[in-house]
């Protein structure tokens, strides 16, 4: 659509601007202010310079939480993306079963995050949970409260349960947009199943898949509620992700300075990734259009 250039459009954006400025800019400014000062309460602040940043950047606790977060994101992406593609490919293309599949698959996406945590907390317990009880009766020593590996497996399976459907739905939206003619042509050429996937379905899913990967990465990078409910960051600190650590510091101990410094570092990482996300999203379409135009 060709848009008219008109700066009066700013008036239409003004309400959003004011509201988001109130709920985003003021808090962020406050965080910046806190990050360079120390306080003992009563709104009395002392200049601390960049000490909190140095502390945070060189602390093992921060590095460990960051690494855990990256590892978590990597693992769930490695599972959810292929699984999502697989399920999307196997889904029916038309008929009433499509709607049934969509509704059932979307169900976990709409469950409150803390209830997702509760569901898995209960499900995995060896005394009352279906999963824990079954594993125990199979002779497996499974206990997500005490064993770090079990805790990680539980969190990963929970995230796969919670979010794979998002990948499925996005891929499916990409798949149904492929015209039948493509498949017919492939059939006439005698293309193998793999060739159809590699040269027709994957390119057509490319854009939505990219969005899915980025969304999953961003959301898993700021995960808080589900692990907080299931493991509370334990056993020990083995499932303490950035958000959990930050909330513990900020709201639990009210350490304004260190928490603010950590918030800013965290936010800068998110900002960088958001930029990548946005650039990819806005350029994925135009890039293809350019290439097609050039041909």
């Amino acid at each position: 659509m060709n848009k008219t250039f008109d700066n009066r459009a700013w008036f239409l954006v003004l309400p959003v601007l004011l509201l988001v400025a109130f709920s985003a800019v003021i808090p962020l400014m406050t965080v910046v202010n806190y990050s360079v000062q120390d306080t003992f309460g009563n709104n009395e602040f002392f200049w601390a310079g960049t000490d909190w940043f140095v502390d945070t950047l060189t602390s093992d606790r921060f590095h460990a939480a960051l690494l855990r977060n990256l590892a978590f994101s990597a693992v769930i992406l490695a599972i959810e993306v292929p699984l999502g593609i697989l399920v999307a490919l196997a889904m029916p293309k038309k008929g009433v079963w499509v709607s049934v599949c969509l509704v059932l698959m979307a169900l976990p996406l709409l469950i409150p995050w803390n209830v997702v945590g509760t569901i898995w907390q209960v499900f995995g317990r060896t005394d009352i949970g279906l999963l824990g009880r079954t594993l125990a009766s199979l002779g497996l020593d499974y206990n997500y409260v005490q064993d770090p590996v079990d805790a990680w497996v539980t969190l990963i399976v929970m995230d796969v349960w919670h979010w794979t459907s998002l990948v499925v739905l996005l891929c499916y939206a990409g798949l149904v947009s492929i015209p039948d003619a493509y498949y017919q042509a492939a059939k006439i050429d005698g293309a193998s199943r793999w060739a159809v996937f590699r040269f027709i379905q994957l390119p057509k899913m490319g854009r939505v898949l990219l969005i899915a990967v980025l969304l999953r990465f961003m959301d898993s990078f700021m995960i808080y509620t589900e692990p907080f409910v299931v493991t509370g960051g334990g056993p020990g600190n083995t499932t303490t992700f950035l958000s959990i650590d930050l909330v513990k510091m900020a709201v639990g101990q009210f350490d304004l300075g260190p928490a603010a410094a950590m918030s800013l570092i965290y936010f800068l990482i998110i900002l960088l990734m958001s930029w990548v996300f946005y650039t990819v999203m806005t350029n994925a379409g135009t890039d293809r259009a350019n290439r097609e135009g050039a041909q």
């Binding site: 406050t30 910046v32 202010n33 360079v36 709104n43 960049t50 940043f53 930029w275």
Partner: protein
């Protein structure tokens, strides 16, 4: 009257935000003086405008400062020099 003492303003942070506000305002003036944002394909191989280049400069500078604090004991003031150099590079190449 509203109480803003909880925001704990200090002169350095005020200066910091004023600088950013001034940069954005300058961008607005520049855009008004020569509209279009000078889009081009730089070394990142996608289209960027002036605003994108400013954003990349600021974000990159933030990471340069963080890296500086993390890896060196040298005062942060020197990092600002690196940041300016980086910003010039971004405006030239990206």
């Amino acid at each position: 009257m509203l109480d803003f003492s909880w925001m704990a303003w200090t002169w350095p942070t005020v200066a910091f935000f004023l600088t950013i506000a001034a940069l954005i305002a300058a961008m607005g003036v520049w855009e008004w003086a020569s509209p279009g944002g000078a889009p081009r394909f730089g070394i990142l191989r996608f289209q960027t405008t002036r605003g994108d280049r400013l954003f990349l400069s600021l974000l990159g500078s933030a990471f340069i400062c963080l890296g500086w604090l993390w890896l060196t004991e040298v005062p942060l003031a020197y990092a600002l020099g690196v940041c300016v150099l980086y910003a010039i590079l971004v405006f030239r190449l990206v």
